[in-house]
Symmetry: C2
Subunit: 345 residues, 2 copies
């Protein structure tokens, strides 16, 4: 009874299946499958009839069933910290582009820097049977991923290494970048240089701090505790931290801001100062060149990081890649003025 099928197909909330299409076209179920998937072995005339039914019923293949049968979902998951952060936009975009080139869709979620939420998200993605995962870790223990890795879920960590498991990592040379940025300030005559960064439990923050210390040590400059502020990111506390190191008994003449959010706040604080204080920031920020002075930064290439990670992911899926590796991408110092100001005591 084709009429019944038609009615059930157009009833709200019900979708036509291949069975419905087959019934309407008066062919077998498998023939419809062949047409839908462009498999050979169907007469043009039969194909036409099937296609007509498909269009008439508005049939759309159910990929859930397909996945169940085939095993691959053609989708990959991206877990990052916050989509609204300007660093992750381009990263996410470049991951998506690579995914698209491989015919895969991108599912993404934000961990909000919360390890539990990261795990919850990752496992939800695994339950959907994503073929691969790109993870910007919030937590530092990823042993919960072991069964997934064994099951063949391709995984690449980004921006920070995985904890307690052996997996691919793609990140910036945070240590080298920070060291270079601070050395740049030292080269312009600064000795009292402040550092404002995130909690050292975050890998990037720790590495950048290490770079700062290394650069100071290279120049034989002992670091005063009052020059360092760790674990502050919210604008209010960054502001206080900056003001303190500028007004203390041993005031800094330059500040190294260890990420883009910190940099932005520090710029605001410095704009209010009468004294000219030098600034180098980690991460580029938009319009940095239009400010007075332009903001000198150590820039990461977010798009390149995303692209590299995604490409490795698909090479894992190809089977081209077996041994986990750690890939460090170089950073680039962009001088625009704020980092070249001389010390003003």
């Amino acid at each position: 009874m084709p009429e019944t099928n038609l009615r059930s197909a157009t009833r709200y909330g019900t979708r036509p299946t291949m069975k419905d299409v087959a019934a309407r076209a008066g062919v077998g179920l498998k023939t419809v499958s062949r047409v839908v998937n462009g498999e050979p072995g169907v007469t043009p005339e039969t194909e036409r009839r099937v296609q007509e039914s498909i269009d008439a019923l508005g049939f759309r293949r159910n990929d859930s069933a397909r996945v169940l049968r085939k095993g691959r979902t053609a989708s990959i998951g991206l877990v990052l910290e916050d989509l609204a952060d300007p660093f992750y936009g381009p990263l996410s975009r470049s991951v998506e582009e690579v995914a698209r080139a491989h015919g895969a869709l991108l599912i993404n979620g934000s961990s909000a820097e919360d390890p539990d939420r990261e795990q919850e998200l990752v496992l939800a993605l695994c339950a959907r049977r994503v073929d691969g995962l790109v993870v910007i870790p919030a937590g530092d223990d990823h042993r919960y991923l072991e069964p997934e890795l064994r099951a063949g879920v391709a995984t690449v960590f980004v921006d920070r290494p995985a904890g307690h498991i052996d997996a691919d990592v793609v990140l910036s040379d945070n240590f080298g970048g920070a060291r270079g940025g601070v050395a740049h300030l030292i080269a312009h005559g600064h000795r009292r240089i402040g550092f404002i960064g995130d909690m050292p439990r975050i890998h990037t923050a720790a590495e950048r701090l290490r770079g700062y210390r290394a650069a100071m040590e290279d120049a034989d400059i002992p670091v005063a505790d009052s020059w360092m502020s760790l674990g502050v990111t919210d604008p209010e506390r960054v502001r206080r931290a900056a003001e303190e190191m500028l007004s203390g008994p041993d005031p800094v003449t330059a500040i190294f801001a260890a990420n883009n959010r910190v940099t932005v706040t520090v710029i605001r604080v410095l704009a209010e100062q009468t004294r000219r204080v030098a600034l180098v920031g980690f991460d580029d920020i938009e319009l940095a060149d239009l400010l007075q002075p332009g903001v000198t930064v150590v820039a990461q290439d977010a798009a390149a990081i995303g692209r590299t990670a995604a490409e490795r992911l698909f090479r894992q899926l190809d089977g081209t890649l077996v041994t986990p590796e750690r890939i460090e991408l170089p950073t680039r110092l962009i001088t625009r003025g704020s980092g070249e100001l001389p010390p003003a005591d």
Copy 2:
């Protein structure tokens, strides 16, 4: 033979199923299902045995199979133009937050402003049987969505209305915002005001242009063709357009930049001018307050737009919502200096 099950379960690329877990725990398949889903009717002792098997095998429920059986995927799709655009980051984030609150995951894709790609993406998402779609349309004909809507896929369009179908839309008051922004310039004494915007086939661009014209007409100012530049967005052409309207025979004393990308380029051009030219931009940009002068903008609330759209989506899914509606969110004029400069002839 539990040993066989165990081996097959840990073989690379194969995952344990509920059957494997059941065999290992010595219970029935359905009992495992009950434990996994927290259904009642399982003795604590049995539950413990099952849980132990789950942990030992690293079992993870296969949501594809679940979806196939239940019909709902607990995921929604978001199709936007470009994730890297600062306007879409917060929007995407707020959509994700609402989705999360409803226990759904977010799948997103970028259309790159290409109608074919938009359709391809949307249909791919429908094939995955997402429960709902949030679409920032690139094309202007969405009749291809009719079968999906009939099938009960909740759909909300954002930023621009759908073409040729009746669906929910959430957008900013582009017309009113632009009109207000231009009126603000007029109120500060400007009469020769330039307009640089996107192709009028894009709804937002057309509306903002209409707002510009309306404000000019309200003030009885005839608009010269040379003051308007439509359909340019790439920096090079925006730059040329701006320079032309600043140097022509009838040079403008103020510019209304109809979106954030245009605004940024115009700022660069104006910074090179000796003459002080007023500027109002549509869309806020980061650090706008730190520039000299601060940039006056007509700001949209991207997060509110995303939240509103996603909430409507889930209300559609609840059944609370039936009739499609058009929701316009107000914009906000933020004065920072550039829009308050007097005309300099």
